[in-house]
């Protein structure tokens, strides 16, 4: 495994097909081991859904991938950058890896337009005019164009999450991380957000998603992973994953949520 990635370092054609490489990633919170050696490779353009019970380490794992959560052992490589890198490298990774949070985390003191336009101006050197054009295009794409001058508190949860997706897209990231994007939404608003994500999945952007939407994962994922107790237990195509679940813990989980 290690030999493999070292070789691909010298073969750009092969190496560049892997967007995310994680090897034996470990993370402790005090004495509690939140990640017990997670190994995962995600290919460019791939959509990987991670399911599993709460507290299993899904969020923690996603947060290590953009440097929000430092890890204690193992290695993570995003595109060409090894984590934990220098301060500059971490910024660069974060600009290439968009993240959508469970609780939206829009900036409440900015209009929807400014929420989306901010990061490209600060991090990519766009002018406000350029960034606003980009924001308008993205907000139209997620169906929020008519709310563009409102503040986040004036929007529904589903609308806020769509703005958050547009905000992440504004940096034109190579990877999008979704941390249970529909878990804090009212049931009737889940579909509008999933619809946006479904459309994104077909655009060829690399997506890694922690979710409880089993049906959605089955539909859009190229591969599905099951994470429990800080371990990635099972990783397979949706068909194999759901039709022939081999692990007893996965079986028991699926029987509860399906």
């Amino acid at each position: 495994m290690i030999l493999n990635t070292e070789i691909t370092d010298f073969l750009p054609g092969l190496g560049s097909s892997r967007m995310i490489i994680c090897e034996e990633v470990r993370k402790f919170f005090g004495a509690f081991e939140a990640l017990k050696g997670v190994t995962l490779e995600v290919i460019r353009g791939e959509v990987v859904c991670i399911i599993g019970p709460s507290g299993g380490g899904k969020s923690t794992f996603l947060r290590t991938l953009n440097g929000l959560e430092p890890f204690d052992a193992g290695r993570i490589r995003i595109d060409q950058i090894e984590l934990p890198g220098t301060r500059r490298e971490i910024l660069e990774v974060r600009r290439e890896v968009g993240m959508v949070f469970q609780s939206f985390n829009l900036f409440p003191h900015m209009t929807v337009r400014r929420n989306v336009a901010l990061a490209p101006v600060r991090g990519r050197g766009l002018s406000w005019a350029e960034a606003n054009v980009r924001a308008e295009r993205l907000l139209a794409r997620v169906g929020i164009f008519d709310q563009i001058d409102k503040y986040p508190s004036q929007l529904s949860g589903g609308q806020q999450q769509r703005v958050a997706i547009a905000r992440a897209l504004a940096m034109e990231p190579k990877v999008l991380l979704f941390d249970e994007p529909t878990s804090s939404l009212d049931p009737e608003m889940v579909q509008e957000v999933l619809e946006v994500m479904r459309e994104l999945a077909h655009t060829g952007i690399t997506m890694l998603m922690a979710t409880h939407e089993i049906g959605f994962a089955r539909e859009i994922a190229d591969r599905v992973a099951f994470m429990v107790d800080g371990t990635l237990l099972h990783l397979a195509s949706p068909k194999e994953f759901f039709d022939r679940p081999s692990d007893p813990r996965l079986n028991s989980f699926l029987s509860k949520v399906l």
Binding site: R94, F101, F107, L118, R122, S153
Partner: protein, 220 residues
Amino acid sequence: MNFDTSIIWQNLPMLLGGIWLTVVTVFLSLAVAIVIGLLVCAGTLLGKGFVYHLSVSYVALFRALPEPVIIFWLYYCGPLILNSKLSAFESGTIALAIPSGAYLAEIFRAGVQAVPRGQIEAGRALGLSSFWLVCDVVAPQALRMMIPPALGIVTILIKNSALVSAIGVEELFYRATVLGGQTFHYFEFLTVAAVMYVLMILPLSVIVQRQERRLLAKVW
């Protein structure tokens, strides 16, 4: 009981001069207090180390001392340590700023810490540098929460400014008592002084109430 307004008009320049000096004292000590507050707040946010402990001790000490003690101590005992005698005005201004700085430091700290973690994480996840994270995300939200309590400190500062009359700063309250003593018209001069303090503080209270209502309504 008769209220002689003519005696007020006769001494109006003197009273206006007192108001002016009160305003100058308040603004200068507020400026010093803000600088102290920012530095001490930065120190307490460090969370560990010598500067942190120094900052926390500063807040604890000067919140515990009565303002008159600080004012008298700095004016009468300061020269014994500092080797140079400050004027009553300088000494009084600094003495007012010292405890206000401690209160402001706590208000600034509370404001910064009240910004939800998710906000900072969202900014980080977007690749904002620390500088822009503070300017765009933390500061605007923290400032908004700081305004009502900070204006509360300003109103207290205005009231406490009357205390420096005790060391001979000729501000509004000092002049009102002196004029009262000279003319035996305490009633008129103290009433005018009282009205002036209220007029200075009332607009601030209105702003505080309006801002607090907006905070409760969560409207930006």
